[in-house]
């Protein structure tokens, strides 16, 4: 594919990145591929600005709330409805609502601001892909406050490293262990189970989703017995609680007494009992399986290039993956080099988040408050940090192009333009945002608009801007 430098720049910034900021295309046009390659770096993706609050701190806050709730319940039982102000201030439901609202809102805003302003849009998109691949959703009370820290601690540092390291970081992170119920899973014949009176045992949720979603995929050649065996191998992978010493609380903790003793067989391979290393060994082998390379190569190609990705592109990513043992920097470089990734026609519809972020980038702005983005994302079905399932957000246009959603995108574009268009040279914004992708009909419609507001809304809603 020999696209002109201007067209290649538009592709680099929109398909691989998050949309052009004013002036960005001119810089990128000097060396579009080099601009992308330079964003690949060993130390991972950028971290959103602001005070980094750790998972451990957020979980400590959550556990405090749980204790308050317990006390409040006991209080209720003792003296009925207590109306005084002290109870009000410590009302656990209010505290929880505040905790769940404010922390994640700050995390999400900081992340959207990074996306809107970064000069390394490809690096950010690459990180967002992996955060979505290893979904920790805030739909559960206990994970609502740690989805942001999870992304910062387990995902961003590893996105250009070895896939195995990313997989281990994600699978052993407290947020994932809580989201997929691993933290409480107990080997049926472990010491902990034998000590307990009430039934204790396995929870196979995490083991199944690692196989099905994170590594080999649903056709990866495993069965129910493999899920159960893997779940047994993972028993003991837990999170430090209030009874542990302070420096262990809210952090990964291996509980040998909960670990199912004995050797395990997962997908035909035997693993001798080695405590925490048994689960690690299974993860290492899963990361190295050809089915994992195939599954992830397909998913990357689908995410960046087309809902039905060109088989040649998938093969090139798979080759790079296999050749390097899952070196994600090499896979990213292979994506940049693949001719199929540079076809001129944009095939992907932006997700709601990508659409909003690229709108801010087009006018050189960034969201200043969570209220400017969260309600719209809710309405478009992409609630902040809350994918509906461990599968994460859909990567296919069919999920995001419901008629109502297009009308809502239009409503947001209008409201956004009404707030921001004053003083803009909208013809220049159009040229700066779409570059060589700006078509004559859109240029004309923007130029003929009755107002700057209308012009900007038309640009944002144009077929070219909706896609990447």
């Amino acid at each position: 594919m020999t696209a002109s430098p201007d067209l290649a720049a538009a592709i680099a910034v929109t398909r691989f990145g998050l949309g052009a900021r004013p002036g960005e295309l001119a810089v990128v046009a000097r060396d579009p591929k080099g601009w992308l390659r330079d964003q690949i770096r060993r130390d991972g993706a950028d971290q959103p600005a602001g005070p980094a609050v750790s998972t451990a701190e957020r979980l400590a806050g959550f556990r405090e709330y749980q204790m308050d709730r317990r006390e409040a319940r006991q209080g209720d039982r003792k003296d009925g409805d207590d109306q005084d102000g002290k109870t009000e201030a410590r009302d656990p439901v209010r505290i929880a609502a505040r905790m769940i609202r404010e922390g994640p809102a700050e995390d999400f805003l900081a992340r959207a601001q990074l996306a809107a302003t970064t000069p390394a849009g490809f690096r950010e998109r690459w990180a967002l892909f992996w955060a979505n691949h290893f979904t920790v959703s805030g739909v559960k009370l206990v994970t609502a406050t740690v989805a942001g820290p999870f992304e910062q601690e387990a995902i961003r540092p590893h996105v250009f490293g070895r896939f195995e390291d990313l997989l281990v970081a994600s699978s052993s992170h407290p947020a994932m262990l809580l989201y997929l119920d691993q933290a409480q899973s107990i080997g049926p014949d472990s010491r902990a189970a034998n000590r307990r009176r009430r039934a204790a045992g396995l929870n196979e949720n995490l083991a199944r989703e690692i196989l099905e979603l994170h590594t080999v995929g649903v056709d990866g050649g495993y069965g129910q017995a493999d899920v159960t065996e893997f779940a047994r191998a993972l028993t003991g992978w837990s999170v430090g609680g209030l009874r542990e010493p302070g420096d262990r609380q809210g952090r990964f903790l291996f509980r040998p007494q909960a670990h199912e003793p004995g050797a395990r067989t997962v997908m035909g391979k035997a693993y001798r009992d080695g405590g925490v290393d048994q689960g690690r060994a299974v993860l290492a082998d899963l990361a190295a399986r050809p089915a994992t390379a195939r599954h992830l190569s397909y998913k990357l190609a689908r995410h960046f290039v087309a809902d039905a990705p060109p088989p040649g592109l998938v093969r090139q990513l798979e080759t790079a993956w296999t050749r390097t043992g899952g070196d994600l920097a090499a896979v990213a470089a292979a994506l940049v080099e693949a001719p199929e990734a540079w076809t001129p026609a944009p095939a992907k519809l932006k997700t709601p988040y990508e659409f909003l972020v690229s709108g801010y980038r087009a006018i050189g702005a960034r969201p200043g408050a969570i209220q400017q983005i969260a309600p719209t994302l809710n309405g478009l079905g992409q609630r902040a940090f809350s994918p509906p399932s461990p599968k994460g957000w859909s990567d296919e246009a069919a999920a995001w192009a419901a008629p109502d959603a297009i009308v809502k995108r239009m409503a947001w574009a209008e409201a956004f333009a009404a707030r921001t268009a004053r003083g803009l040279d909208t013809d220049a914004v159009a040229a700066d945002a779409l570059g060589a992708r700006l078509t004559a009909p859109v240029r004309t419609a923007v130029a003929r608009a009755e107002s700057r507001e209308e012009a900007l809304a038309v640009l944002l809603m144009s077929p070219e801007f909706q896609r990447r």
Partner: protein, 413 residues
């Protein structure tokens, strides 16, 4: 458009969405011929609903032992027959059952056995024999088969569910448009989208639907009055009350749309949040909360439909059931057979639909799950044939491809 701006009703549906309820509906009714009056509502319970708690077989001698601390005690279950009861959170549906307007299919499953949510939902909604076998939904193809007339399709919810994707153009709507809007913009975009197969039809349908829903909601206003969630008042119970009120409001608003002369004939809704791997609870708890929303949704439909209830059948389906045995974390893992609820004024009274395989150790599927005795496609075939008049050939070939060997359930309508 003014009806859309009503803060109370917008807040109400928005609250419903927050509790994981969304709906889609399609198929504007034909002129008032006999079958055209008939209404079908399909509620997809996403995440795998635990049938053994929704309709506990409290009379099965193995039930209490397998379930341990999450068993529904026999004395708490709302009695259906000597074997089965309903979960106490399903009191409204139990009231219907006592009138012969609600029955259970206690051991039903799709043909998928992978225990993957995503694969199984695909099989359930597509109606195919295997995962990813077709990219359209069986309800869409059912309407196509009823054909011979122009069918309008509409989905309400933020994303388009597979069950109604297909050739029949699907509209969609959900609350929340915030501005009155520049009246020129749709026309300008209409021109720009003229050659765009994705955005062009979507925008046109979206605008048309917005206008229709505004009218329908105006008509439905009396029914929806008083449905707004309690304004404030703390406590988890208040939150649960708000969730029930929101779910009931979604049911009533949907019913208001269905009752319109040009209203939809087939409706699909989703309730998510059934993936109870840990702490699912028994008479009270997490699962009880979801079931109470389901109950409120169905009763909202029932109350809102009024006279039209007698022409309606409502089916709940889930992608698979959960393990018969309680797991180590007070929950249940992915299983196989589960319970479908079939309700409505058009339902023929009768007992349990399909055979009960029992929970004897040897009867369990792979030693762990309720063994399915009825194919979910067979249940839907029965409803589509007897209630909506679809013929056997269409059901065996286009609606449920390659399913001639799957018998239709009978005696439903």
């Amino acid at each position: 458009m003014t009806a859309l701006a009503s803060p109370t009703r917008r807040a109400l549906l928005a609250a419903g969405a927050g509790f994981g309820v969304s709906l889609s509906f399609m198929g504007r009714a034909r002129a008032a011929d006999g079958l055209g009056r008939k209404k079908l509502v399909v509620i997809v319970a996403r995440g795998a609903m635990d049938g053994l708690s929704a309709a506990p077989p409290v009379g099965d001698p193995d039930y209490a032992g397998l379930r341990g601390r999450i068993a529904i005690p026999a004395e708490a279950a709302l009695k259906l027959d000597e074997t089965f009861g309903l979960h106490p959170a399903l009191a409204g549906i139990h009231g219907l059952a006592r009138k012969g307007q609600a029955r259970i299919a206690p051991a039903v499953a799709s043909p998928d056995r992978a225990r993957s949510h995503f694969e199984a939902q695909d099989v359930l909604e597509s109606g195919a024999a295997a995962a990813y076998g077709t990219s359209s939904g069986f309800l869409n193809r059912a309407l196509e088969a009823m054909g011979g007339h122009r069918v309008e399709a509409l989905s309400v919810g933020t994303t388009a569910p597979l069950i109604l994707r297909g050739k029949v153009q699907t509209a969609s709507w959900s609350p929340g448009r915030e501005t009155d809007g520049n009246p020129r913009l749709p026309a300008i975009l209409g021109d720009l989208y003229a050659g765009d197969p994705l955005l062009g039809p979507a925008l046109a349908q979206g605008l048309e639907t917005e206008a229709m829903v505004a009218m329908a909601r105006k008509d439905a206003a009396p029914a929806a009055a008083g449905m707004a969630p309690a304004a404030s008042g703390g406590g988890l119970q208040a939150l649960a009350r708000q969730g029930r009120a929101a779910a009931e409001g979604v049911g009533r608003t949907t019913a208001g749309l269905m009752r319109r002369p040009d209203g939809p004939q087939v409706v699909a809704l989703s309730i998510d949040g059934w993936d109870t791997h840990a702490n699912q609870g028994a008479v009270e708890g997490q699962l009880a909360g979801r079931l109470s929303y389901l109950d409120a949704l169905v009763m909202g439909l029932h109350d809102g439909l009024g006279e039209t209830w007698k022409d309606t059948i409502v089916v709940t389906a889930t992608e698979f059931g959960r393990t018969a045995r309680v797991n180590g974390t007070g929950g249940t893992d992915h299983g196989t057979g589960s319970t479908a609820l079939v309700m409505g004024g058009a339902l023929k009274p009768g007992g349990v639909i399909g055979d009960w395989p029992t929970l004897k150790p040897a009867a369990l599927f792979e030693g762990r799950d309720t063994r399915p005795t009825l194919d979910l496609r067979g249940l839907f075939k029965g409803v589509l044939a007897e209630h909506l008049g679809l013929d056997r050939r269409a059901l065996d070939t286009t609606v449920f491809p390659d399913s001639a060997d799957v018998a239709a359930a009978t005696g439903l309508a």
